[in-house]
Symmetry: C2
């Protein structure tokens, strides 16, 4: 890891539905807000150069490493690992490993990005498996949800590691001093649920861990903002996150349709428009883009595949914040405490 | 099971936060819409009699079986089983077993109701474990989600049984000819997810089952209404349902706050009020009350514990519909086909 204050981001310029445009546009928005960031774009030099004509500030803080090879959205992770050694994704990962960049950001194939990052970076000492963490809106602000699908099953120790990593992520990205940690379960009573969550709860109750452990939370506690970090296995976390997205979209669609349903409702909409625009901004999923692969020895951030430039900016912002705040040092410190 | 067209409902009159009032009020609403229903109220005769003074139509179609004993909301299922043999919940269950009623409805302790119904009714031949099913709103209407927590883990065969039972429930309660069945997973590709869901998918692809199997669905497909029946294990289903409830509530709260945020927004709200009222009715969770314990040899319906009379009516409605449509015959028929 570089030790200067400059944060250098290795960008998989070819990953994502709107790549490379979304990547260059995201970088430009980031440069308006941070003066200490630099980029290495990995991908098709011609396409990137063309975009640099329009986004000249980005060009001034960037270099390009050309490659024709890319990981396709539906490539199997194993195939990407075998054949993707010259891909834009892999070269960006290698740049971090070799110390030329502080982190990698990609909107490409999630499975391939995870497989490659895991192989190249390895996990942090004391962490058995990485977890994917991201922000979810609640009535009280955002909370961190993990794991979102890096693992389909997790044992108690792994869940405890997720709690430690989620704690560090919430401290960094949500600027919280002592995030409240909850373990997702089917009831708040200690006797309910899988053996794994019961055992993890028993370990987390051990106050030496230094975590602010709330106990079990249920699905509705996510939207209620009961805790700042919701810990679960990757199968459940992925389904909870996507269920939340789907229901959020459903309610928004119903509200939009209601506003169109009569003449008076339409006038009402015009009057309430600024308030609704502000609400839309609050709930805009683009503002929560940027999932972190926690538990690897280097920083890898996954942008949503369908991100536009605005959304990509938020993934870059997460990258800058976790690098600047040395999230891996925080995790290692907390692991040491918990083992001590 | 009684063979007349009259549907007799055994009511745990003491179960629920607002019992027995919610039970009597729900019964009255049901009587306005169905002329073939009768009730047996199990519980405190004095309290029920007092309510009958106000709701005399209910009295005309009801009998009361007095008991002082009740299952408390936080009694462990094992305790309820041991000590609750004279409880309103248990007497209502026994009435169904003895053929004096066609189904039982309770808003009491879910775990106790499940444990008692399972012990008294037993599972249908061919069903290893019961599952809890209920309706969830989608952008295209309602869908059936199961299991909601009867089991924390399920193997492939059990998931297949849930699919068969969910199919019968959707045919009955949503009046669908050929409901589309989806299996909840973390991705739509066949290679993702737990072994159990992959194996269940392979069995369900067997066309002889006669189910309209769509394949894997993800969390966001619930709100999108991609399928009519979403099948999963009880741990995941419980968390998906409650996550959906929490996010729905969160978005509604944000919308309500937006309407209060400025003078113009308030005027806008007044103009859009009828449209919003109609929307609120569409999404009203009370209208989806009534979870069925599928796979038992008799019909048991669980009302939400916090149900008011209006909400309780919907649980009673589910009871009448599944009894009238002989849902257990449908399940047995489909099981026979699948084994044949």
């Amino acid at each position: 890891m570089k030790l200067s204050n400059i944060v250098t981001i290795a960008l998989d310029a070819m990953g994502g539905d709107y790549a490379p445009a979304c990547v260059v546009e995201g970088a430009e928005i980031l440069l308006r807000r941070y003066n200490n960031v630099r980029f290495i774009f990995f991908g098709d030099r011609n396409k990137i150069d063309q975009l640099f004509q329009i986004h000249q500030t980005v060009e001034a803080f960037s270099e390009i490493v050309h490659t024709d090879v890319l990981v396709a959205p539906h490539d199997k992770p194993s195939v990407a690992l075998r054949r993707g050694s010259k891909s834009s994704m892999r070269l960006a990962i290698d740049a971090v490993k070799e110390g030329r960049a502080d982190c990698v950001v990609s909107a490409g194939n999630t499975g391939a990005l995870m497989a490659m990052s895991k192989m190249v970076f390895k996990t942090l000492p004391g962490i058995s498996r990485p977890a994917i963490a991201a922000l979810v809106p609640t009535i009280k602000g955002d909370c961190v949800l993990l794991d979102l699908g890096a693992n389909v099953e997790s044992n108690a120790n792994e869940l405890v590691q997720f709690a430690i990593m989620g704690d560090a992520f919430a401290k960094t990205v949500l600027s919280l001093q002592s995030p409240k940690i909850g373990l997702l379960n089917v009831g708040s009573e200690e006797l309910k649920g899988h053996d794994e969550v019961k055992e993890a709860s028993a370990i987390l109750r051990n106050t030496e861990l230094g975590l602010n452990f709330y106990g079990f939370v249920e699905g509705n506690d996510i939207g209620n903002g009961t805790v700042d970090v919701v810990v679960t296995d990757g199968f459940t976390g992925n389904i909870a996150l996507k269920t939340a997205e789907g229901i959020g979209k459903m309610v928004s669609t119903y509200v939009a349709n209601a506003f169109k349903s009569s003449f008076f409702a339409k006038i009402g909409y015009l009057l309430a428009k600024p308030a609704m625009a502000s609400l839309r901004k609050t709930l805009d999923p683009r503002r929560r883009n940027g999932a972190m692969f926690l538990g690897l020895s280097e920083i890898a951030i996954k942008s949503h595949g369908s991100a536009d430039g605005y959304s990509y900016y938020f993934a870059l912002k997460v990258a800058v914040e976790v690098v600047s705040n040395r999230i891996n040092d925080k995790i290692l410190e907390e692991l040491k405490l918990s083992l001590g």
